[in-house]
Symmetry: D2
Subunit: 310 residues, 4 copies
């Protein structure tokens, strides 16, 4: 059976302190495509190879961080089923009518045990990837793929309390697989948990934080190590603040760069990683090898990983 | 929901004319890992980053081609459900006991409308990818990844009659998505159909042939364009017969090399391609642009694509 | 001692049948930077990482081919010395005053034994690579590197008679090294000769032809195999006629694509190849292995290599 | 004229504290090919695509650092000429007979203003790159290119006093070009100087240090960014101490990893960088942009660059 149920991360709404600087960062520099501004002044972006209307929404606010994130589900019946399952699981669900969120069908809204606001929706207007669907070819016109050459939004990492409960919810209600876990070597407490609803090593992950509803990063997919290095060169050119330059995560095996938007929100560009299936063994890392788990090319944990969130 | 139901291509049984030459090709040169020889003289191979015991079985015979291919399903209940669905669909199913196929749980066996023998199974012994599951690291020991640096088996392309019926079966019974179609520009007849049960642009595909049960190719996944070029260099070094050297398919957007094993069975190494979701629009190509559909870097169709099968 | 004497291929003047189509090809599509049009309607191009004003001159004419090519030498004294050496060698030299060729200092002009017109010059206006020379950074502004992402002009391959005499002249007068030779397996006649004045496997090469003054191709340097594949994708997108898609030359070990401009002049994009030094052994290939010598990934010689020139 | 005079860095003799650990590092892990052990217990290594017998000599000693480095020159006459020029320049030269250094012809030995011992030689036994010289092919047998997939030795960076005098000597006597300079933004004092005798952005460089005869690093050439990332993955796997993980130098534009051998000697793997010619403008960086000059992807200078040497 192909993917059904919850399909993928479809939208992240990020608070930024200065919209002009944010648009330069996400649009001009990273190369995400600005598709819309709404009446409230929010700006909407997509990556070139996505078909849906947008994946990133920027909202100007007094504090940085994440307003909400949303997963797209297979169809409206899936929404109905999941509302029932969430209610049965004890998670209060708010219904949001179609159109309240632009270009989007009706949504379910609820708060995770970690304090984050999550949405589910089944419909969003599709505007395509410029190639069309009949003898489409493989290369968009020059200028469509630019900046960091981002293909798609990939995942978010959320910081908060109760991350075991988050993972349990995603596994039991949304039927995600746990793919990897980082635990304290002594107490075995979960420090970070990675779950997948696809063949990716993670579609969303949770990192333990003393406070709820913190934002660790949103990650974007690149095609290759060469494109990762190209993005790193551009990050350097634009003097974008770098958290961790090109490296490889132990967890997920993905090649990565962490950097910050002008409001201090962490972004990632990501490529590679293994292919996950439900029968892939769960990988467990512990703090006795925290360096390799986080950044396997120099086996050096970064304090900012657990301390710097918005 | 993560992948459930039919998960992935798990096994292809290939007939070879000369086992010694075949072992040199698949093992020594391509770098697949030989894991077992059975009492009948069949040789079993896996790719390094697969966890299951094997994905390729070679059987010496008087004619080249494919004996059968098998998909792994989520669990035993899925097998039970699919047997019922196949029966209801009108496909006779043979039950094969656990252990008849080495390292494998029970299987369902049946014949596709195209004439191919297909298996489903839920269990196969897992031997892992050498990294372990506790603080596993990301790099196997040197020598584990060698030859063409193949990560995994990827898909098969089967030639036969009744390919629309094949696709219907995969969509209706196995719940695959149709991803792309190649049709005759005039008659609109289906010439090749691509279906996916994952985020890959195809997990199996069917190409129209006048005769049933023909084998077009088995494809193996590489990490990068660099590894594709490395494989091409080795193919050249070993004077392996090349069907089509490095190019990019229009259909699937994957980068490819087609070459032949010593028995004339076509192999492919493959990397890239887009990310498919159930809501990705189906792409349709027709013979008015057959060159771009098949090999988009030189827009040149190869006759062998429709004429050379085993 | 650093490079002195004859430094590098600095200019190729190509005849095109239709300037508008040629400009679309070399400028819009390949991404060479058009820097000037002269009073005679010739168009001048440079690659982004070259410092000199231009490397390609297009002239509209009734036949395709090459008007002349030019090497830059170290300084004016080198010109004086080489004029003397050419005269002593028996090659008549014509002096061309500074400014006759735009942006260029004085030139020596002469005809090679193969029938080609060659220039030498020591001065050409430098306009830089946009990075400057003081804390320059490493990345030009977006849009500077576009199209095929060409870094530099690399070499030309000239077809003609008397190629042994060409090679002798380049070795004895210009002090190039012979790097590789392709000879007939039986007669040992030279079929193609490759000479270098740098650490590149060739700066110019000669292929035996029954007629003098034929143009085989001009080649442009790319950064990586990834950029080669990107160029191949664009070549496919624009339906540029492909002679040989992505492959690797045995001779020079360079990765290559051969394609044609709208006038039928062959172009190449090229990356890789070994590092040559004067003490690197000369490599000899013969026609018993012509496939590997020319295209080592499929060991298949192409007739067009010896038959299609302008 | 092809390269003549001083050709390239041909040999670096490194002191190591523990030969067993050093052999595991340079041979087993990095994948340099051990070609010889001499009567004094020194171990000799080459990179696969070099033709000469060796480029690295390891000597066990009580302190880490560099014993000497050597450049190969074009021929014996060049040695004679350079001895005369060195004497005229005021540098005392010691003659070392052929055979004193294994596999090597006669040498000139002298001490640079920075305190380093340098050799020049014209002859070293050639053992080739395994491909042969007649229809050689392009791919060595599997196992020849392994570990970090190092192609060649590339350059050394030497720390010491009087670096301006070093650069002057290399320019005036050895006819190298200055390619780049790092200077103090206020005093304009030279902090690091880069000189080339080829088309590489440097063949040797000098960094200002309060003490003479310090060793900053020896650098090895890789083919691609992909191979750089592969080396980084292996460095991580083997827990080799990393100084600076994958990044790009502003100076030279080369992609880099700095890491340490078990004795604390710094090594680098390097790929890319621009093509230098004598008419390429000299690039000047100053300490007002030290981050970009050293590591352009995160614009972050590392203290260890000026403080950690052997």
């Amino acid at each position: 059976m192909a993917l059904r149920g919850v399909l993928r991360l479809g939208e992240v709404c990020i608070r930024v302190l200065d919209m002009k600087a944010a648009r330069r960062h996400y649009g001009d520099r990273m190369g995400l495509i600005e598709v819309m501004t709404d009446a409230e002044g929010k700006h909407y972006y997509k990556a070139w190879d996505e078909h849906d209307h947008h994946c990133i929404v920027l909202r100007e606010a007094d504090s940085a961080g994440i307003d909400s994130f949303a997963f797209k589900v297979y169809d409206d019946q899936t929404l109905t089923d999941l509302e029932e399952k969430l209610n049965a699981y004890g998670i209060p669900v708010e219904r949001i009518a179609a159109g309240v969120y632009p270009k989007s069908g009706r949504r379910l809204q609820f708060v995770l045990p970690s304090g984050h606001t999550m949405h589910l929706y089944a419909e969003k207007e599709q505007i395509g990837n410029t190639l069309g669907t009949s003898n489409p070819g493989v290369m968009p016109d020059e200028g469509v793929v630019r900046g960091f050459r981002i293909n798609r939004i990939d995942h978010v990492l959320l910081g908060g309390v109760n991350i075991d409960e988050n993972a349990k919810l995603f596994q039991e209600v949304f039927e995600f697989d746990m793919t990897e876990r980082l635990v304290d070597a002594d107490s075995k407490q979960s420090l970070a948990l990675f779950v997948s609803c696809s063949t990716k090593p993670h579609d969303v992950a949770f990192v333990l934080q003393p406070e709820p509803n913190r934002f660790h990063h949103v990650s974007f997919l690149l095609d290759s190590i060469n494109d990762l290095f190209h993005a790193a060169d551009l990050i350097g050119k634009y003097r974008i603040p770098v958290d961790v330059n090109t490296n490889r995560h132990g967890i997920t095996r993905g090649a990565t760069i962490y950097f910050f938007d002008p409001s201090g929100n962490r972004n990632e560009v990501f490529t590679g990683g293994y292919v996950h299936y439900p029968d892939t063994p769960v990988l467990t890392w512990d703090t006795s090898d925290l360096g390799a788990a986080s950044f396997s090319q120099d086996n050096t944990p970064r304090e900012s990983f657990f301390n710097v969130l918005t």
